[in-house]
Symmetry: C2
Subunit: 491 residues, 2 copies
């Protein structure tokens, strides 16, 4: 298994980077901090998009598209938003280049300076609420349930493939409602949809909760989130959904006439997940042999590799492979027969292991004789010989089994790496030891939160939305705490 992959034990961060490159998911481009998403990585992202898009549409959302550029002044309108987003961003100042006097270089044309600079969107609340003002007059125009799939740019100093890049792809939902309750219900619904997607498709268990005030989205009254735990014991925020109150409606003067003829500001939500999910997928399931993909998102769920020494053997093996492929396709299973003669079976085995294909089927001359094939599952690396007539049903049930096994394994890992502590010493000990999620009492103040962050690098990932609400006292100050909250060091 010469994959030359650093092991997780040796250096988790290096393992991750190498894996993303070697599995052909993505690579850094010639543009600082911007990645190229390669076809194999993009095929996984497309599967994610397709499922999320279906879930959004089933809950009444429609897609639309808003401009890439936002005039600088828009950001100043919502006071807290400007601090959160208008700082580290790409600024367009000119709209023309010209050839310089030497005739050899192209330079920015100073004549073509924009009167007002344009910001490449880091998020689209401002431009969208500027548009909604034109769309909303009456309660009849509400709710507006719109989503957009888009690229956004946040100028990051330290970047990592998928996890933190200057440009990334995401979806951002932006909804407008007549009532506060309806907006809150929408924000909660979208958190639940994200959780359902991440758990059922990505096989990544998540904890739903609320962000503390200091971790909230700039301009939100409440930020709902889902938090996942990676194999190195660090947390990753997998999605957020914001209840924005009337902040953006007020900033952009969006009012509606209610049924009784009164005028009120519109209530808002926004919610998003990004290509960061690709990082979560890789870091949750993959191992020292490479990527491990859940069947629900694998571009190829099954790959068939022929083993042969001559044309005759190849013909016999191919016949079985082609039949099997046809039957699997009829069951809706995504299967590929890799009959390239440019690569050896060993190379192919290695390749598909690295790329995380859930099930590999090997067929050689001996199998032809015996009427069997060899089936290897990627999650457990187990192999077994299966009689031809049982292969299809075996693979069908493996699709579900592997999907479930990955979820269970990740869930078990999270259980084992979630620790409840009572004291600040215990807290620090756990963080520096096994890591993972740590549940502890906190007094609810930003000051204590800040102190913990400075002293331990752990942040409050969320105030979980579960029933575990036993009161106690803050591990740092001893002040009363209504419930334990979820801490971790995070990506």
């Amino acid at each position: 298994m010469a994959k030359n992959l650093t092991t997780r034990e040796e250096d988790y961060s290096k393992w991750y980077n190498e894996l993303v490159l070697k599995a052909d998911l993505a690579e850094m481009s010639g543009v600082r901090g911007c990645m190229v998403i390669k076809p194999y990585g993009f095929a996984i992202w497309e599967k994610m998009q397709a499922e999320l898009d279906r879930m959004f549409k089933e809950t009444g959302h429609q897609n639309a598209y808003f401009p890439l550029f936002i005039p600088k002044s828009y950001f100043s309108r919502e006071a807290s938003h400007v601090d959160g987003f208008a700082k580290e961003c790409a600024v367009v100042t000119h709209y023309r280049l010209k050839t310089d006097e030497s005739g050899k270089e192209i330079v920015v044309d100073p004549e073509a300076k924009l009167e007002e600079e344009l910001i490449v969107r880091p998020t689209s609340e401002t431009i969208i609420w500027d548009t909604y003002r034109k769309w909303i007059q009456s309660y009849r125009d509400l709710p507006i349930l719109v989503n957009q799939w888009a690229n956004v740019v946040r100028w990051e100093m330290r970047t990592r493939l998928f996890l933190r890049t200057t440009e990334f792809l995401w979806q951002e939902g932006h909804t407008a409602h007549a009532t506060e309750d309806e907006a809150i219900a929408e924000a909660e619904q979208m958190m639940n949809i994200y959780a359902e997607f991440v758990e059922n498709y990505m096989a990544v268990p998540v904890i739903k909760g609320l962000k503390t005030e200091s971790e909230r989205f700039a301009g939100a009254l409440e930020t709902y989130c889902i938090e996942a735990l990676m194999q190195d014991g660090k947390a990753l925020q997998a999605g957020t959904s914001h209840f924005l109150g009337q902040n953006f409606a007020k900033a952009f003067d969006v009012k509606f006439a209610d049924k009784d003829g009164g005028l009120d500001y519109v209530w808002a939500t926004s919610w998003g997940v990004s290509t960061r999910l690709m990082g979560a997928l890789v870091m949750t399931h993959s191992d020292d042999n490479g990527l491990v993909l859940p069947p629900n998102l694998a571009p190829d769920q099954v790959v068939i590799v022929p083993i042969y020494r001559n044309e005759e053997q190849f013909a016999a093996v191919s016949e079985i492979a082609n039949n099997l492929m046809k039957e699997l396709k009829a069951k809706g299973i995504r299967v590929k027969f890799d009959n390239r003669d440019t690569h050896k079976p060993g190379w192919k085995f290695n390749e598909y292991e690295l790329k995380g294909v859930p099930v590999r089927v090997g067929i050689g001359p001996k199998d032809v004789e015996k009427g069997t094939v060899e089936i290897a599952r990627r999650d457990t690396l187990e192999k077994e010989f299966v009689a031809n007539e049982q292969v299809v049903s075996k693979i069908e049930s493996l699709m579900q089994e592997i999907q479930e096994n990955l979820y269970k394994r990740a869930f078990k890992f999270r259980q084992e790496n979630t620790t409840e502590v009572e004291t600040y010493d215990e807290f620090k000990e756990v963080l520096d030891g096994k890591g993972g999620f740590v549940l502890a009492h906190w007094d609810g103040t930003a000051a204590t939160e800040e102190r913990i962050k400075n002293e331990t690098k752990a942040t409050i990932r969320c105030i979980p939305l579960d029933d575990n609400v036993e009161a106690g006292s803050c591990m740092v100050t001893g002040d009363p705490s209504p419930r334990k909250v979820l801490f971790a060091r995070a990506y």
Copy 2:
């Protein structure tokens, strides 16, 4: 029918703008030249995307994603490309804003100036070929058949919704091949796929051909195109596919080892269609009552409008409507039952006519009595009563009929508005009279082409790839011409 829509006769350009706005397809945003694609317009674009994406994948292409930003220096590498694309473009010069001394304004931070300016991609050949250098070593790595769906920016001075906007959405295919023949075959294949899509889904007939040298894509050796004719007699380029030779491989030093161990530059193509197709769709079929959509691309193919005066009637009508909806959905037809009580039937009839829904079904108390419904088709505006038991099959066949009728109507229009001329006087007379496509002999020189353009505003749309290759002499210079070429004034 008080739609307050300017008629095509009165002012075609105004009619188009009003229609795009009133049918909720798109609107201009607060950002100069950038549009907002509204949910209804975007739903049509999504249908287009889905079909094209399927066609691309069926021919072996995969999607990927490349950076939004391109370093300025990349454009200088391919000599003709820089003139074509690096001029009117959005230039990112800074990566940070800051609050000014007053603490009230946000301004560009002069400290955060980029060493090299970044261009927001107007097209991605340069950044992609810079990437392909890393992907291609040997003939085994070829062909690369990659497409990306992306936003691009070209700084346009005069903009029109969908037809010419600063930012637009498109797909751009970029392929790499071991041989010249293979690359040419790919470029031709993609032109054919575009033609198939535009004719079969958009119901817009096109003429396939080659661009003249002066109309070619900057950096291409050959540009294949499909040209459509709008109702006002102006041409619209609906898609282009470029054979790029080895120009980009040379500019970015992309070589491969062939089977015999020799090193050669890689052969390239690129091809794209954009949201401009939305403009072509609107301008080909729509009428003075609003949008007319081909069933293959209509977000709603059928809408059912209930007519009633009381709850009892509504219940009876709804039962029939719900059954019909279920049956139509089972046939794969996209149907909507508009049972909103906030709008009157007359308003709804008007609305769906404006929005181009192919078939409208009206059901009222009299229909309930008689066991009929009223069916109205949008293309011909014909109405008829149909017995309940025949409704489903009637609608099913209407889907095909309307699709075909729209194509035939557009084809007939094009035939009637394509004129062959022999003299330059005739040529000018036709252009200033009925307009449309004009076939005429041309001597093949850029000078004559330029003169015709300056004198008549008509350009050579393409050298058609058909069998009509009778030689003659140029209408302007009298010099020999191997065949007539296609002229028009164009969007």
